[in-house]
Amino acid sequence: MKPLDGVKVLDFAQFLAGPMAALRLADLGAEVIKVERPKGGDLCRSLVIQDQRVGEDSLLFHTINRNKKSVTADLKDTDDQNRIKQLIADADVMIHNFRPGVMERIGLGYETVRALNPRLVYGTVTGYGTTGPWAKKPGQDLLVQSLTGMPWLSGNDGQAPVPAGFAVLDITCGNHLVQGILAALLRRATTGEGGLVEVDLMSSAIDMQFELFTAFLNGDGKMSQRSAISNANASVGAPYGIYACTDGYMAIAMTPIARLEELLDCPSLAPYRDPEIAFTQRNEIKAVVREHLLNESVQHWLDRLEPADIWCAQVLDWPSLLETDGFAALDMLQDIATADGTMIKTTRCPIRLDGGVLKSTRGGPPLGGDTEAVLG
């Protein structure tokens, strides 16, 4: 049995963070029904990247909304809203990511809905919480990265700030929502009552940076500074980073410099054996490592380092990752089918249960495809 078999989830959210949380619940066995606007539905349906469309909808929509159903309803229309309220009365979880106040104005705010169904777990995603001067700002991934210092942690010192090049906060925030919703479901088994779970991109951004941010809060007030060469973590000393070789790149994690000197046969590292200076002189040390590694192939260096159990890896891109046995063994991919039978390749839920993986072949739902079956 999947752990959430029988759990009913209403997903009023669109784009990524909220729908991604609902996707994880669907992966774990829940029945997820998207409630969408009659015209166009989830805006993600029309968000096309790389010209990739599957039937009516973008590939992106299918990626995020596989294994869900869809009903359409105009929440501002009384009849439609009443029908949705009947669904809510019988649901275990609902999720939305409207800006603060919108659901209240529509008449489906937490307090109203709780009166309708006291067992409901009500999950919300916002950009910056529900109060305070930023509550009404657009809760968009790149903008929240910018506001939280994150772009100063990637890339090298001297470069412009480098944001993570995709929606890491949406995904992390969706993950946090899943944790809260599951915990509230567990509590409900004891107390019989549902609850309100709120997450926001801002808090998730801080949580992602919590190790270094805690050091900052307790330190001398200086922000971690990126290393000028091969930065991969602003607070870690040499050689931690990425290095070019003749035919590609390799990563080296925490490694004593003296070991590196010996294994790489790199006498220029001799002045830097003292572990105390691995951080304070990281740019000098990394410059030596960089010059040295440039002369040979990735495999040449891996053959020297891996047998000694040094923490290193080849830097792969997606095509080369797909060719590895390691990735194949994870069984990380699955095929899903759209309503018209088109096959799509995507990834699966990253959680394995009782030795098995969680897969489902259902693609994203056509807009309102389940309205009649669900609402009658």
């Binding site: 990637s154 944790q179 801002m202 973590n233 994870l330």
Partner: protein
């Protein structure tokens, strides 16, 4: 704060160290669980002495404090018979066990899933590895940077001529921990219905593949075409202009997805948009935007673009962020004490019933006395 504790009464035994496993149990602790760390006698969790800055709090690294606040600790030698008995006594009453040794190690120590299940059938058991189990990669060190290197994620950040750019925070660790926490709580929900236990597993590579799932799926259905990052102003490999980072007189601003026509009007850029494609010509377009913003200050740029409804933000650092007061407004910053030290902390990223559930209390000293579940003060 203590009114919100959905996992109150839950007993978690945590054999893991460093980040991924302990991050999962931190989330459980924040949600109300009682977490006991089982650590090696002597040094304990290696992150106690993993210094990421010269900040030492009460003799241990800030990293350790950040990850392990609100937990308890028991130091044991897992190869010593009497210590093993103490651990088994804790397991008899535990709900959840978490471990992140390399595959096979915990089984050899005698505390693997099968061994525990034989004595306690309804145990919820969580394992995190680097790359899963049962193939060539399972002996590789499960370390964040190395998992990032293998996952392809380094080709998504930064600009074309940057080479591979790692995300400068341990995203694989954090998200593997998040996935494990979800799996553990989902199994607890199932146990409430069926009474059965179970084993949840994830790995750094699975978590970081999931992190890329949108764009990776695009690649899988696009004839395996790899993404091409912008030449400059980079913030996303797959999004069209103006999405990017722009240098201004005294810093940087970011501009998210916006209607180009409106943006050009607001910035007074006189280029013929008809001849420009927002994706194919993104470098040319971002150069125009960059040139137009360069002379202004950060605050000016944001203020006048904001006023015109353009989605933009200043690139702030942690000083600016703390100064803005937003984290205080969100109640994201906490404080605790250990020994003579005041410790500033970051709190749980989620709120339940309007309050932020957070493990109260500091990270534990390495404790050599035998703990019981009842002894939590």
């Amino acid at each position: 704060m203590s009114v919100v504790a959905p996992l109150k009464g839950l007993k978690v035994l945590d054999f893991s160290q460093f980040l991924a496993g302990p991050y999962a149990t931190l989330r459980l602790a924040d949600l109300g669980a009682d977490v006991i760390k089982i650590e090696r006698t002597g040094k304990g969790d290696l992150s106690r002495h993993l210094y990421v800055s010269n900040v030492v709090i009460d003799g241990e690294s800030t990293v350790f404090h950040a990850i392990n606040r609100g937990k308890r600790s028991m130091a044991v030698d897992l190869k010593d018979a009497s210590d093993r008995n103490c651990v088994w006594a804790l397991i008899e009453e535990a709900d959840v066990i978490v471990q992140n040794f390399r595959p096979g190690v915990i089984d050899r120590l005698g505390f693997g899933f099968e061994a525990v299940k034989a004595r306690k059938p309804n145990i919820i058991y969580g394992s995190i590895s680097g790359y899963g189990d049962g193939h060539d990669w399972d002996k590789l060190p499960g370390q964040d940077l190395l998992a990032q290197a293998r996952s392809g994620v380094m080709w998504l950040t930064g600009a074309q001529d940057h080479g591979p750019v790692p995300i400068g925070i341990p995203v694989a660790d954090v998200l593997a921990g998040a996935a494990l926490a979800q799996g553990l709580i989902a199994l607890l929900v199932r146990r409430g219905l069926t009474g059965e236990g179970g084993h949840v597993e994830t790995s750094l590579l699975e978590a970081i593949t999931d992190l890329q799932f949108e764009l990776f799926s695009t690649f899988l259905n696009d004839g395996n075409k790899v993404p091409s990052r912008p030449k400059h102003n980079a913030a996303h490999a797959y999004l069209a202009a103006p999405y990017g980072v722009y240098e201004v007189r005294d810093g940087y601003v970011t501009v998210a997805m916006n209607d180009l026509r409106t943006l050009f009007e607001v910035l007074g850029i006189e280029a013929e948009l008809k001849t420009l494609d927002a994706f194919a010509d993104r470098d040319e377009i971002s150069a125009l935007i960059g040139a137009s913003l360069r002379a202004r200050t950060r605050d000016e740029s944001v203020a006048f673009m904001d006023a015109a409804g353009i989605w933009c933000a200043p690139v702030m650092d942690w000083h600016d962020l703390l100064g803005s007061g937003i984290l205080q407004e969100l109640d994201m910053i906490g404080a605790t004490t250990r020994g003579d030290s005041e410790i500033g902390t970051v709190r749980s990223p989620l709120r339940i019933d309007g309050t932020r559930p957070s493990a109260i209390g500091p990270a534990p000293y390495l404790e050599t006395t035998n703990l019981t579940w009842k002894s939590r003060s």
